[in-house]
Structure formats: structure tokens, C-alpha cells
Point group: C2
Chain length 404, copies 2
């Protein structure tokens, strides 16, 4: 099985910086899923879809969301920088193998041997605490400063933060589980799981269109994501530095529980005014279709703002936040019943950005105060991680930091 | 959107009793997934796949396992038989609509409107407690007697039992979630959720073959299921009565946690001797391929039994249990970390059978004592429900009991 995305040359996917990066990014976004099309008549097209691990950026940022995600954080059990280096080498090697559909190694417990890679991506991040732990405090990027406390935060620190962060996505749940187990086994003696959560997105082929995600509230979610073919896309998502982190990103993770019983008691037209978009197709209340730019100034004939002053898309809009933008890649979660009998369900929010101070932080500051959606949400866990640039073949993720 | 499975006439799927039933059953098993093949070039083939709700048997027994399952039990909040009748009518009507890909109703909260039914099935069961609650103790089938306690059971009663049981399967997680939410909303005032769990199976297209399931231990699981084209299949799975339950079944549910850290410490050859099958392809250790009948008497050249005396497939074999057989339809689950730091993961075991006293009970009695696999498993929740026969169009599930 080839490691390249079918229909796109490895070169195109790996891309370069600047304009080349934008082209590469587009191939990355379209490639993973488009690869299934030419061979749709063969049964395992979904299984065969392969996303290269190596590249300018780590995989799992620009690719379409897979049907299943595993999120996990690990804490180092010691402070040994060289053990961490060995682990990142081994994890990178394993992720590259698994994303090609190869076994992870000779002694590995085979779980999902009968499937292809199913668009598997494995993405690694480093938390702020890691830098203290391994004696590299001076190398910690300033952008990794702790997120401020936001009003209404109800964070469980045991399910927040962590030295190492891993995002595993695949279109088959067993493939994603298998990758998690292999990484966990390989970490034994060096790092142990701090928290782990599972989420889901749509199954390829379930819907009729190249779609934006839909969350458990039934709302189209992610429409206003920055587009890879726009000139400032890379500047919004990928960092210039310092040094070892150039070409990387910062990911903000929030476990956001949805108060679905309250939400579903609202009639659809009131839900739409809370969001600012039509529920059926995601079109903004200022008119048009899902992709029509939001007109925040538009007034209805009665002089009332078409998109209410406290509507989610107004408060979250870049225009309301000095141009702040981030690439959201959230997955839904559902974890049984809470003690009060309601479903424990919501959004594993993930957003990639060049600088949280110009992305998540200003947006969430406004949302926590002025967004009418916020009364239906509870932020229960949180994390901020630097996502190192992608590894070249033969290299490993984090090499610029750990070999430095 | 048509309610019939493409490529199979509605008549064939609805089938009849006896020989007709076996033919219908086969169509049901093959139809749901096979339906995707003729239209594989159109993007939403997976989404369009529709499994009829109405029929001799309820849907969700004979169909291939979907990528996602929702399991839930409800308890009646009152003892009103007529309110239950109204709920079962409404649930049946809603399930029929959703499985055709139609909205559930005018006032419903639309969540997954942009997908087809994605092979959605909704299956209802009645627990023993229901019959007392609605004053129909005399109509409770003897086969619904409580399961005996088994050695090593560690059951959480809050996540066991329940008056009403619902199994929702779909190839898209949001479609399954949507169906659960709609049923939950419709139950308000009549029944409330007692417990809820989510599980997964393989995504269609992930693997190369018409496959038996593979569990989180990496083992092929379900090979020895009774086959719908064998003459005694219906007698093993569907009950003859009494009266209102004829054509129905009994489902045993067990939440079985897997001690994966212990399991994965075993080398593959020892795992294979615990199970009695090869891990890579599920072939029995007595030789052949996955579908080769197990030869329990086969000895290796050294005179040792090829399938060890305490191997799972020997202890569970019908030949070891007076012919006891059941149709297993289990899903994997994974629910984050336990307090000891291990993954809370395993199998949502489901088995349909004509009579638990000739199915699950004798097999589990032997497994709990003599199965070398049992030391890697913990049974943490349990349920037994009568699964009424399917509803005809215009009727509802449980009508024979509740209109009686």
C-alpha cells in the first residue's frame, strides 16, 4: 500500500511554504476524502484511504474530520528528556506505519489487522507543563501561556491539560482504537494516560454533499472556518516560530457539554436566532445560502437586526474580534447519563491557530459574556498545546525541540 | 425515499413463517448492506440504505451490525397501561418514519436532517419489571424469569435491567443519536431513561470482506453464530409463544469490560489458545479457514488437543451445551479512563434467542467456570428483555400484549 494520497502526488501534499503551502493545504483537505472516489466500485475504498504522516504540517489539521476521533493526554512519569526523545521517535515511526496501513511492529498486539488505514491521522502536541518537566522552560513558546479563566468555566483539571496531547482520527472506530492502544503500550515506562475521550463526526457517504459538520444541537457548525485557498490562511493557522515550532500550530481543546434538554425546548425559530443561522441548511439569517458571507448590518423590514445582537455567529465573528480566527475541527461526544438523568453529550471542541492570543482567547472572552448560546453550554475540560510542525521522512515530531 | 431495501422486494423482506421466514431472514441479513452496492458510484449510498421497520420480526436482529449503536433502558414513571400503549404507538410510528429517512414529526427537533436513514434500525424490548408495573403479571412469559447469578458477576444494577429496552443502530453516529433523542423526548411524562450506552462496530467499507466482527481484543467474534439459511435457525432465535410474543425473541444484554492490559501482555499464540482461533483470520486451531467447522476432537501430532480444554470456543460450543445457541450481535464500547488509569472498554454483548434457558444461561454457566477467557472479562451490567414480534404497517410493537 502506498503512503501517498491517491490522485495527488506526494510532492503536492507535502507542498512548501507560502503559496506552495496553500496549494498543499488544499490537496491535503481534498485528498483524503477525494481519494475514495476513483475506486468507489471496489468495496474497501473507505478502508484504503491513506493520509501521509510526513509533511510540512502534521496530518489531522487540514484533513476532513474522520468519523471517529480519539483524544488523549499523557503525563511523563519521569523527567528524562532522552526517554521522551525515544518515545517521540517511536510514536512518529508507528504513526507513519499505521497511516500507511502497515502493522506497527513485530511485537504489537494486532487489533484491526483486516482494515486499511481508513484515513487515519495521528497528531501530537506538547502542553506547557512538558517544558518544565524536561528542563526546557526557556524553549517554551510565549503563546503557550495558560489560557485565562473565563466566566462560567467549570473545568475538571483531571480531564484537562497534560504534558503530551494526541489526536487520532479514522473513519473506522476499531482502527482509531488500535492506534490509541499501540501508542499507549509504547509509552509504558515513559508516559501514562492522563485523560482519554472519544468523539465522532459524520460517516463518509451518510450525507448528500461536501458538508460542514453538524453538531448534537442539529446546527451546521464550522461554516466560517478559514478557507485553505485564501491568502492569509497559513498566517491564521500556522505559526512562524519561535525556531523549532515554525510551521506548527496551537490547538485549543475544550470539552463543551450541551444542555440539550433546555436547547430542545426552544422552538426552531428561537434556536436559529440564538445561532444566527437557519437550522435546515446553515444559511445566515441575513440571507443567502450557507456559504453566503454573513451580513451583520442587515436589518429586517421592521428595522430589527436580521442577526440578533447576541447571536452566536455575530459574537464569534472575526469582525467582532479584531480579525481573530481559528480552524475549528470539533467532534461530538456522548458518554452515557449524568447523575441528574440527562445525557452527558456535547462537543469536543478543537481549534488550530497561529496564536491563541489572536484566536481562541479574544473570541471566548466575548462569547462567555455576550453569546446567547453560552447559557446552553458548559465548558468542562480545557487544554492548550503547541502542535509541532510535521516531520520529514526519517525525522520525528518534536525533533526541532528535542534534538536542539 | 422508498422504505424497501433496494434489490429486495418488500415482500421478500417481510417474508412469512417457516421456510418463508428463513428466506426473508436471509434477505434481511444481506439486504441492508448489499443495498449499497448497486449505487456505489453515487456519494450517499451509505446514507440511502433503508431497512424496513415493519415485518414479521423487528428490525435490528437479522441485519448486519451497523457502525454505531445506542442502547438504552427506560423505566415507566407511572403505571398507566394506556399511556404505555400510546408511547409504543408513537415510538413505532416514529421508528418507521426515521428508518424511511423521513422526519419524525412536525414539532421534532431536527438534528440529522441532511443524511439518509443510514441503515437505521430501532428494536424494542420489554423487561420483566414492566409486567408488574402495568398489572400484566399473568402475561409475563416464563422465559423472562431473572437470569441466575453467575460466578464473578460484578453487576451495577443502575446500569442493568429496566422496563423498556431500545436498541438503535445506524451507520452514521448522528443519525443514531437523533433517533435516541426523539424517542427520549416522546417518552417524557411516561418513561425516563434508566441507563444509556453507546457502542460501535466496523464502518462499511473499512474492511476487505464480508466479515465477522472483530472485538477490542482483536479477535474475530461471532463466527459460530447460527446461519439464517440453516433449517433450525428460526427455532433457535425466535419464540413460538406464548400468544402475543410468538415470532418475537429474547435478548440478553451484558456489558462486559475487557481487561485489555492483561490481555495484551499475552503473546499472540497464547491469546489464540485462550480463544481457540487464530487471531489473524479467525480460523479454528483445529485447522482450515474461519468458516471451517471446529473439530473439538482434533489432536496435534504430540497428542495434545488442538483446541485446548479451556479454550473459549470449546466451552461455548453448542456441542458442549446441549445444542444451546444464540444469535450474537455485540458492539464494542469505550468510555474513557477508569480510576485506576486503565481504559474502560469492552463489549456490549447482545444475543437474541428463542429461550434464554436454552441459550445464554447454560452457556454462561459453563463459561463462568471453565473458560480461560473469563479471567480477562468483567460482567458489569446485565439485562434480559422479551423482544416482541415485528409490527405490521398500521400496527405497533407490543400490540399483542397491550391491546389484549
Amino acid at each position: 500500500m502506498s503512503g501517498s494520497v491517491q490522485g495527488f502526488s506526494r510532492r503536492a501534499v507535502l507542498g512548501g511554504a507560502g503559496a506552495g503551502l496553500a496549494a498543499g493545504a488544499t490537496a491535503g483537505v481534498l485528498g483524503g476524502r477525494a481519494a475514495a472516489t476513483p475506486a468507489a466500485s471496489a468495496p474497501p475504498a473507505l478502508g484504503r484511504t491513506a493520509v501521509p504522516f510526513h509533511g510540512t504540517h502534521q496530518a489531522g489539521i487540514l484533513q476532513p474530520q474522520q468519523a471517529r476521533v480519539q483524544l488523549a493526554a499523557f503525563d511523563l512519569t519521569g523527567g528524562d528528556r532522552s526517554a521522551l526523545r525515544q518515545l517521540m521517535k517511536r510514536w512518529s515511526d508507528t504513526a507513519a506505519r499505521l497511516t500507511r496501513g502497515e502493522p506497527a511492529g513485530d511485537h504489537e498486539n494486532q487489533i484491526a489487522t483486516d482494515a486499511g488505514p481508513c484515513a487515519l491521522t495521528v497528531t501530537f502536541g506538547f502542553g506547557s507543563s512538558l517544558f518544565d518537566r524536561i528542563g526546557l522552560t526557556a524553549q517554551r513558546p510565549p503563546a503557550l501561556a495558560p489560557l485565562p479563566a473565563f466566566p462560567e468555566d467549570a473545568l475538571d483539571r483531571a480531564r484537562s491539560d497534560g504534558d503530551l496531547w494526541v489526536q487520532i482520527g479514522a473513519d473506522d472506530a476499531l482502527v482509531a482504537f488500535h492506534a490509541l492502544r499501540v501508542l499507549q503500550q509504547q509509552a509504558a515506562g515513559t508516559a501514562s494516560l492522563r485523560w482519554q475521550m472519544s468523539g465522532f463526526s459524520r460517516t463518509p457517504g451518510a450525507t448528500d454533499r461536501a458538508m460542514t459538520g453538524r453538531n448534537l444541537m442539529g446546527q451546521v457548525d464550522g461554516t466560517n472556518n478559514p478557507k485553505p485557498d485564501t491568502p492569509d490562511f497559513a498566517a491564521k493557522v500556522f505559526t512562524d516560530g519561535p525556531g523549532w515550532s515554525a510551521g506548527g500550530s496551537y490547538v485549543v481543546f475544550r470539552r463543551i457539554r450541551m444542555l440539550l434538554d433546555n436547547w430542545e425546548n426552544l422552538p426552531t425559530d428561537r434556536q436559529e436566532r440564538v445561532i444566527g443561522r437557519r437550522k435546515s441548511d446553515g444559511a445566515p439569517l441575513s440571507g443567502g445560502t450557507e456559504s453566503t458571507p454573513v451580513d451583520l448590518a442587515k436589518q429586517n423590514p421592521d428595522g430589527i437586526l436580521a442577526i440578533p445582537a447576541d447571536a452566536h455567529i455575530r459574537v464569534a465573528a472575526p469582525a467582532s474580534n479584531g480579525g481573530a480566527a481559528m480552524l475549528r475541527r470539533g467532534f461530538s461526544y456522548q458518554d452515557g447519563l449524568l447523575p441528574d438523568g440527562s445525557l452527558d453529550a456535547g462537543l469536543l471542541f478543537l481549534a488550530f491557530q497561529a496564536d491563541p492570543a489572536r484566536g481562541f482567547v479574544p473570541v471566548q472572552r466575548r462569547l462567555a459574556r455576550g453569546d446567547s448560546l453560552s447559557r446552553f453550554l458548559r465548558h468542562e475540560a480545557s487544554g492548550l498545546y503547541v502542535v509541532p510542525p510535521g516531520a520529514a521522512e526519517g525525522g520525528y515530531v518534536g525533533q526541532g525541540l528535542l534534538d536542539g
